[in-house]
Subunit: 282 residues, 2 copies
Amino acid sequence: MKEVQSLIDYRSDVRVVDATLRDGGLVNDFYFTDDFVRSLYLANIKAGVDYMEFGYKASKEMFDENKFGKWKFCRDEDIRAIVGDNNTDLKIAVMADVGRCDYQNDIIEKAESPIDLIRVATYLNTIPSAADMIENAAKKGYEVSCNIMAISNSQESDLAAALDIIGKTPVDVLYIVDSYGALYPEQVARVADIFLNFAAKYGKKVGIHAHNNQQLAFANTIEAVGDGVDWLDGTYGAMGRGAGNCAMELLLGFLRNPKYNVYPVHRKAYQQAARGGCCLGI
Amino acid sequence: MKEVQSLIDYRSDVRVVDATLRDGGLVNDFYFTDDFVRSLYLANIKAGVDYMEFGYKASKEMFDENKFGKWKFCRDEDIRAIVGDNNTDLKIAVMADVGRCDYQNDIIEKAESPIDLIRVATYLNTIPSAADMIENAAKKGYEVSCNIMAISNSQESDLAAALDIIGKTPVDVLYIVDSYGALYPEQVARVADIFLNFAAKYGKKVGIHAHNNQQLAFANTIEAVGDGVDWLDGTYGAMGRGAGNCAMELLLGFLRNPKYNVYPVHRKAYQQAARGGCCLGI
């Protein structure tokens, strides 16, 4: 039985990442209106969310820009059109998929970009490429995470080997990604244990991105935070690929740090619904 | 971190209770067709479910029989019309609410009834009445559970006092009922710990009935079973009051005892959907 303390106090190292546009974009091919994106940005600021992921930095050579909304490509100028100079506490993230991103050219120097965090998404079989992307992004001045997908299909020894490679890069956060929503909480605890061991060895943080195929995305996220995982992904209305993700509304309601506040999110959604506009999916 | 063993092996003391008609009946005022109830009965048998709760034994003095379907009252003859002599491994349960049940008259001797298990539902402030109902049902020959509702609103010391009273009755199972779906898994662990201590003291079993208001009904149920709780409630399609219950489909997929089988449930639902009939809500 865990400490009673843990549900009353909070850990200041926790970070909340809104992945609505990125994982939700996989549902609607990234066709979000600017009005929606702006509302989401403002809601995240009011809710105390730490990072907002705007979408993918997908290669325009590999994907037809006419077949997807702009957030599949996340041009810096499109982000700036929403956030201006982003003089807020909310940081901006994008995802760069191994093998689907022209990162040498499309990711510019941090000093010139509104983006703060590059999330490098990889499977276990492309870890060396991920390491290269991480080095590149870190050199340009970004915070970097490495999001290891399809973790429920991984052998623990392969995972350990991967973490030992990625741990040696300048990555900041090692992310558990339960792509199929296949893990039960006690399996999350075991996977987190492996991640946390390598994070301790190399001085990194650990994050979790959960899917809801077994109605466990929120449960697995709060299991992970109890185990020592600090970076937590959510999406509004749980919007995301397949069965969706951890619902941000549940996550914000759970966290005890007074900086997080779920009420503005609900109010914004109700206001928008009341005037017939888009809502945040609640 | 829990033992790896626990997700591979199983505990033969686990019992699965289908509460679809009873908690689901709170959604549709118990207006299920006989065809649906018969299909549910057959699906439960094929799925290896241990108990099927048919509804409430509500007082016909207090509730108008014209305003509810028959499963609010669960006359023995209505149950017999579905199950005959019930020569199966599936046992039959009904719920009797403290203060809403004419249990002296409406619950007959077990030897004359198709019902196996009386589930006495109570709040903490009606524990002495619950104890009286338990004594009555046990004397008539039934298995009996005591389902303590609204547990998230209870003080731990009141709960302990209640369990010390109920523990002295001939009750078989002490049930945690998270009526508002308000508990997080680590709170379930703490509540289960209190229940399990009294269960050990008095030689009882412990069960859990979860609600899904925070998408934690399934997570809380598997947390409880990991903590040593044996009796697990589910409903098909999670149908139940408010946000619903623990989805039986998820629960059957989780349990490792080969007697449980989720496939017939899905097949039955697909067959019925295909011919335009009612389905089990999947």
